[in-house]
Structures are given as structure tokens and as C-alpha cells.
């Protein structure tokens, strides 16, 4: 700063402070943000700029997987995203299956899809729950989590654990067959979840929709430019779904629609969630009707780690998980452990570029509505 500038500064009379900007922190120890923070620069009540602050939940799965055999990694893959452990199980199992070239039994393929869709349903119920909580609609939160527990009861019955299935969908198939009578139980739970989707429509009152309509509008070109996938992209008018575009398992044999909305706002994303739940219920009903009998795993017994050998090669698989596109890159140099695993979760892009873009210029009260409408998961982002 030179002398001239100093003089001019001294001559300015401080009549009123013009700079009303201040910093505001949303998270990481905020009940409504999860293990994730956003540093906001506010002007009054308006957000001038937003900066994502990730890294509070980094556990280093990619490195850990380099020291474990695929069966142990299947257990590890649960933890990538707590909310949809079975979907991540499937991503990992598919990568290993493609690498080893194992022919997965047909029954196992059906069970995999069944579990992945149940996982999507419970994940969307969490989405509804936390979104209601963010908007101050506590009843919605409690009801959604109550219904989610019915699905967790099913997981407990089938996988042996409520939240963590411990690699139930494992390389070569699934770890155990469906127990007797579980199909009827699944049908009963589906009726209950259908009841919940009706409740969601009933709850759709003015107070709920006005907080979300026209809030956090993401334009189609911005969504594509910033790398949005899944329900966030579908709410912007792009008809895309890996289950249809690049079918895996038995999705090409199933009849279901891809819900699409044109608006691109938080309310459109919420409506997509409701429609996707209905589609998932449709898929599960078809799977239950068609599920064949037979083996559930190839080979039937777990190979001891000392005898495991992964063939040389590299694969990249992508799946449609509840939050968007979940992908895994796996490379092997012929050892028993993978040489490199790269996990591409949908939330890294939803929570950093998309969120920063959407928060610019919004009111402070709209932050929770936008934040939760993206169906975010800090665990999946940090990995």
C-alpha cells in the first residue's frame, strides 16, 4: 500500500459499516449436516459464496482394500455408505466377478437385485426422514424411520445384521440363501412401504411444498457440467439410469420406468424419490414372482485367503445406487489382493461442486432444504 492510498483511506468518514458480510459455518458438528461442513459467506441472510469442507469421515477404504482378499473386502464395502450397504456390496462383488470371470448362479442374481432394491427403499426412507427433519417436519422423520425399521427387520432375517450385512452380496453370489418364509415376509413389508408412500402423499401439505418449490434450481446443463448423477440428474429432465442404459444383473429382464421431472428444484427431487420408491416396489414384486431355485454361490465354500488368486487385469463397473452412480475400478497384477481399487461415489460431486453451485445466492433458511434434497451421505463422499 503506498502513501497516496493511505491518505485516501484516512479521509473516508466511517458513517456506517458498509461491510455486513460475515462467515457462517453449517456443520461439521451440526445436527443437520452429518460429518460434513460448509463454510458460508453471508450478506445479511443471503449466501454470497459457499465452500464445502469435507474430510471428517475419511477411512481410506481404497488403501485398506489393497491389503485384503476380495471376500474380506466385501465385508469392508458395507462401510462405504452406511445408508445403502447392500448397494455398495453389489458394486464391489460385480467388480470382482468381472475380474475373475465367475458365472454367478441365476438365483443369486435375483437375490442380489432383491436386496439392492430393498436397500434403495430404506435409503430413500432415510432421505425422506432427514429431509423432513431439515424442514422442521419432525413427524415425517419419525414415521419414515419407523417404516425403515420394517426393512431392517428383513435385513436382520436374511443377512444376520440390521444395518451392516457383512458382505452379504459377495464375490460369486450371496453368502446365504433366503430363509424359509422370507418371501411372504418381504411381501408384507412391501405392503407397509406402499402404505408409507401413500402417507408421503398425504403429508405433502403447503408448509412442506412451499419450503421446496422453486428452491435450489439446478439447470440441466449445470447438472451435467458439475457431474450430477442419479435422482439429482433425473430431477433436471435427463432420462438416465444405469439399470436401463447399461443393465447389470437381471435388470434387463425386469419391467420398470425411470421417473423424470423437468423442474430441477428441491421439490422435483423429492417427487422423484417418491416415484422411485414405487418403481422399486414394482421391481421387488417381479423378482419375487420369478426367482428360480438353485445354488446361491459359486464356489459354494469360501476359499481360504492363502489359496486366493486374482487373475491379472483391470475392470470398471458402474451401478445405479440410491444416490446416483456408484462405480468401482479394480486392477489386479495376479496376487491374492487387488493391486488398486478406486471407488467413485455419487456424493463427492453432489456435495462439493453441485452444493457449492446451488447455495450461491440463496437465503439462509433454504440451506437445509437444498442440502438434504441432494440425498447426500458424507460417508460415501469421504470414503
Amino acid at each position: 500500500m503506498n502513501e497516496k492510498e493511505l491518505i485516501t483511506i484516512e479521509h473516508i468518514e466511517p458513517i456506517m459499516p458498509e461491510d455486513t458480510d460475515y462467515n457462517f459455518y453449517f456443520g461439521p458438528a451440526h445436527s443437520g449436516s452429518g460429518n460434513f461442513g460448509v463454510k458460508l459467506r453471508l450478506e445479511g441472510e443471503m449466501v454470497k459464496s459457499a465452500r464445502a469442507d469435507p474430510g471428517y469421515l475419511h477411512r481410506g477404504f481404497e488403501k485398506l482394500m489393497e491389503y485384503r482378499v476380495p471376500m474380506q473386502n466385501a465385508v469392508l464395502s458395507d462401510r462405504i455408505c452406511v445408508f445403502e450397504a447392500l448397494n455398495w456390496n453389489l458394486v464391489h462383488a460385480e467388480a470382482v466377478d468381472e475380474l475373475t470371470g465367475v458365472e454367478v448362479p441365476q438365483r443369486a442374481r435375483y437375490i442380489r437385485v432383491l436386496m439392492a432394491e430393498l436397500s434403495r427403499l430404506q435409503s430413500h426412507l432415510i432421505w425422506y426422514g432427514v429431509m423432513s427433519l431439515g424442514l422442521g417436519f419432525d413427524t415425517g422423520f419419525k414415521v419414515a424411520f419407523g417404516y425403515r425399521d420394517y426393512i431392517l427387520d428383513l435385513f436382520e432375517l436374511i443377512t444376520g445384521g440390521r444395518v451392516y450385512p457383512a458382505g452379504y452380496i459377495c464375490p460369486g453370489g450371496v453368502r446365504r440363501d433366503l430363509p424359509d418364509g422370507s418371501e411372504n415376509k418381504i411381501r408384507r413389508v412391501l405392503d407397509q412401504i406402499e402404505e408409507m408412500t401413500h402417507k408421503m402423499q398425504d403429508f405433502d401439505n403447503i408448509a412442506f411444498s412451499k419450503r421446496m418449490k422453486g428452491v435450489g434450481i439446478l439447470k440441466t446443463e449445470d447438472a451435467i457440467r458439475l457431474g450430477a448423477t442419479g435422482p439429482v440428474l433425473r430431477a433436471c429432465g435427463v432420462k438416465t439410469d444405469v439399470r436401463k442404459d447399461d443393465p447389470y444383473e437381471i435388470y434387463n429382464e425386469l419391467d420398470f420406468d425411470i421417473p423424470v421431472r423437468e423442474e430441477g428444484d428441491a421439490y422435483a427431487r423429492y417427487l422423484i424419490m417418491g416415484s422411485e420408491m414405487e418403481e422399486s416396489i414394482k421391481i421387488i414384486k417381479q423378482v419375487l414372482e420369478r426367482i428360480p431355485k438353485g445354488k446361491v454361490r459359486e464356489p459354494a465354500k469360501i476359499t481360504p485367503p492363502s489359496r486366493v488368486k486374482l487373475p491379472e487385469g483391470e475392470v470398471y463397473v458402474r451401478n445405479e445406487i440410491a444416490r446416483g452412480e456408484g462405480c468401482a475400478y479394480m486392477r489386479s497384477v495376479g496376487g491374492k489382493e487387488p493391486y488398486r481399487v478406486k471407488i467413485r461415489g455419487p456424493d463427492f460431486l453432489h456435495m462439493i461442486p453441485v452444493l457449492e453451485h446451488l447455495l450461491k445466492g440463496v437465503q439462509i433458511a433454504d440451506i437445509p432444504a437444498i442440502y438434504w434434497s441432494l440425498n447426500i451421505c458424507p460417508a460415501d463422499m469421504d470414503r
Binding site: M71, G160, G161, A166, P179, I302, P305
Partner: protein, 126 residues
């Protein structure tokens, strides 16, 4: 219309059962195949080391029994550190003699740090 809806919802809700149960007086039944605390049938164990090998968290260590039981059980047997265990049941699945099993016991919290380590012991001692 709004009041009618409220009355309808209220009458429905008053007649329906609550979604929750009054724990600990009542609890949801834990199904078969649940991954809870381990149980070792030491008489059937062949000391093959597979459980220790597959454990992703290295929670299982093969150890010798105390002197007084060494004559009957001369090999090494799995000692499970439940503090490290992630309850994935890979040890149960890989066991060739099906002697290591997971029970339905989920009440595992303890104030005693040594209590989380399960030492292999003959049945009559337990």
C-alpha cells in the same frame, strides 16, 4: 375438509398398535442366523487356523490353553477379541468342522476391558 381428515386420521391411529415395543420389558424376536457373540465347541476344533486367517480385522489369535487343560487339548485354539470383531461371521462360514458359531446374544457391553476377550476354554469350565 381438513377437520374431517384429522378426525379420520385420529380415529385410525387411536385404534392401531404402536410401531415400537417397550424395551426391555418386551423386545423384537431375534431371528435364527443372527450374527451375535461367538460360541466355540472346543472338542470339535481341529486347530486349522482358517478362522484366524480369514478374519478381516485380525481379531482371532490361535493360543494354547492353560497348563491344567494342555494334556486334553494340546493344540492351539481361537481366542476372539470382541473389541476388534466386526461380526461378519466369515469365521463361522469358513470353519470346516462348524465348531465356531455365532449366537443370538447381542448384550455384549461390559465395563471390564478384559471381558471383551473370549479365551478358548473347555465346556465344563464355562
Amino acid at each position: 375438509m381438513g377437520i374431517l381428515n384429522t378426525i379420520e386420521a385420529l380415529s385410525k391411529m387411536l385404534c392401531s398398535k404402536p410401531m415400537t415395543v417397550k424395551f426391555p420389558y418386551e423386545a423384537i424376536e431375534i431371528p435364527e442366523g443372527y450374527r451375535g457373540e461367538h460360541e466355540l465347541d472346543i472338542d470339535r476344533c481341529i486347530s486349522c487356523n482358517l478362522c484366524a486367517e480369514i478374519c478381516p480385522n485380525r481379531a482371532i489369535e490361535m493360543v494354547e490353553l492353560p497348563e491344567e487343560y494342555k494334556e486334553k487339548y494340546p493344540k492351539t485354539y481361537p481366542r476372539i477379541d470382541l473389541g476388534k470383531c466386526c461380526f461378519c461371521a466369515l469365521c463361522q462360514d469358513i470353519c470346516p468342522r462348524k465348531c465356531l458359531k455365532m449366537t443370538k446374544n447381542v448384550f455384549l457391553s461390559t465395563p471390564d476391558p478384559a471381558g471383551v476377550v473370549k479365551n478358548p476354554l473347555p465346556k465344563e469350565v464355562k
